[in-house]
């Protein structure tokens, strides 16, 4: 697979992720919470076509080094368009011998499965969760039933964790690299972007074809 030579720098991954999830001139809403969920902020940012810098308010939050920040792929407040399909693998750490232990080989193996399914645009390690993002060639409506269906189908064929029944597309969010990992007790880790290839974009039909091929190969 041709792609980036190595993990991007933090700033490059933040800029790349924002640029990838940007839908035209629509404003983006980023949700930020302190590690233990006491503080909460919503950042509304409008990005220029070429994201040359991390927007100032976001840069300040990253510098504060205490915020867990996510980028929802669609929200009720913004025009409801979706630019990506997201798969999340959930491997929560266990508290063992006085420290939090992650199933890192398990996460690595799961991320490899996601990467083998269809080369992702973004791969993120967020402590106990791995997140893969496949950018859509053209944003589609958030009300399009295919959005959640694609998410569930990708989860089914890759072993990722699907959103629970009744969840909405607004619950699909990508952890922002550089922000802290939240809700993991004593663990203090950081979200890290392992892979970023903005050129990797897919039509809905291509993703559906990859799901079908995976189902076919899994058939006995």
């Amino acid at each position: 697979m041709a792609g980036p030579a190595g993990p991007p720098t933090l700033s490059a991954s933040v800029r790349g992720l924002l640029a990838a999830l940007r839908c035209g001139d629509d404003a983006m809403l980023l949700r930020a919470r302190t590690r233990h969920g006491v503080g909460e902020r919503t950042l509304r940012i409008t990005l220029p076509p070429g994201v040359a810098w991390i927007p100032g308010p976001l840069l300040e939050l990253l510098e504060e080094d205490r915020w867990s920040i996510t980028v929802p792929i669609a929200t009720a407040e913004t025009p409801a368009r979706v630019a990506a399909v997201v798969a999340i693998i959930d491997r929560p750490p266990v508290y063992l011998d006085g420290r939090w232990v992650f199933d890192e080989p398990g996460i690595a193996a799961a991320l490899r499965v996601l990467a083998a399914f269809l080369e992702p645009s973004v791969l993120i390690n967020a402590g106990g969760a791995g997140v893969a993002v496949w950018m859509l060639a053209e944003p589609i409506s958030a009300r399009d039933v295919r959005v959640l269906q694609l998410h569930r189908d990708v989860a089914r064929v890759t072993g990722a964790t699907a959103l629970p029944e009744g969840a909405s597309v607004e619950d699909l969010a990508v952890p922002l690299p550089g922000s802290v990992v939240r809700e993991l007790g004593g663990y203090s880790g950081y979200v890290d972007c392992l892979w970023l290839d903005p050129a990797a974009r897919y039509t809905v039909e291509e993703i559906e074809a990859a799901i079908a091929a995976r189902k076919e190969s899994a058939r006995p």
Binding site: T9, S11, L59, F102, R112, L123, P177, G178, D192
Partner: protein, 236 residues
């Protein structure tokens, strides 16, 4: 070439250069005179008083308003109503007007009494007042637009000529507003450059911090090293 010929050649070149300098200085002087004239024209077209032909409607309006104001005020009513007014049904003694026998009646009363006369009065005075009228109101918007465009063209020509002279080694001061604008632009550019540098520095600091804390976390745990390496190497 001997020394005398060299000096002659240099003198000749110097003379040509001085003629050129003098030429461009004259040229810029002419442009600046034209700019000053154009500004005066623009000032007149914008702020000079309207000509008499435009005053008629205003004279009629002010007379009408003054009359109405006086009639509707207590002074107007007191002419006919109240004790010893013109309309007092129980008049005892002489009539008392709102003004005394030695006072001039108010302007509003004049307008109410004889509007045409009041208009004639104002018009006659305005015609006798010496003043430099500008163009009629209906001609001003187009005239101001044309003069503004011409002024901008002249100012641009002046700025370019000064820049061209500077490029040729002849230093001529820009107009004060050009100097001020360029200084302001330079300050703004400097602020933008500083902001860009500041952001770059802050992003680089974050990058370095993130690299250390994620790398150190991975290095502390062999499985973590495997995670980062396996994903990136597999993909690459």
């Amino acid at each position: 070439m001997n020394i005398v010929e060299s000096i002659k050649a240099m003198t000749s070149k110097l003379s040509s250069a001085m003629k050129a300098a003098s030429g461009i200085t004259d040229q810029i002087g002419q442009i600046r005179a034209a700019i000053a004239n154009k500004r005066r024209e623009l000032e007149a077209a914008t702020n000079a008083p309207l000509p008499l032909s435009d005053l008629d409607a205003r004279i009629s309006a002010v007379v009408r308003e003054s009359a109405q104001l006086w009639l509707e005020s207590g002074f107007g009513v007191s002419l006919v109503s109240g004790e010893r007014a013109l309309g007092d049904p129980h008049l005892r003694g002489s009539i008392r007007l709102p003004w005394s026998a030695s006072q001039a009646p108010p302007w509003g009363a004049m307008c109410a009494s004889d509007p045409e006369g009041a208009e004639r009065f104002l018009r006659a005075i305005a015609a006798r007042v010496p003043y430099q009228a500008g163009p009629p109101a209906h001609e001003r918007p187009a005239l101001v637009a044309r003069l503004t465009a011409e002024l901008q063209e002249l100012e641009r020509a002046d700025e370019e000529a000064v820049d061209a002279a500077a490029a040729g080694g002849i230093t001529i001061e820009h107009r004060p507003e050009v100097t001020a604008r360029r200084a302001q632009e330079a300050r703004r550019h400097q602020i933008e450059r500083d902001a860009v540098l500041d952001r770059r520095r802050r992003e680089e600091t974050l990058d370095a911090q993130h690299d250390v804390r994620t790398r150190s976390a991975y290095l502390a745990d062999p499985a973590g090293v495997e995670l980062r390496r396996s994903v990136t190497e597999d993909n690459a």
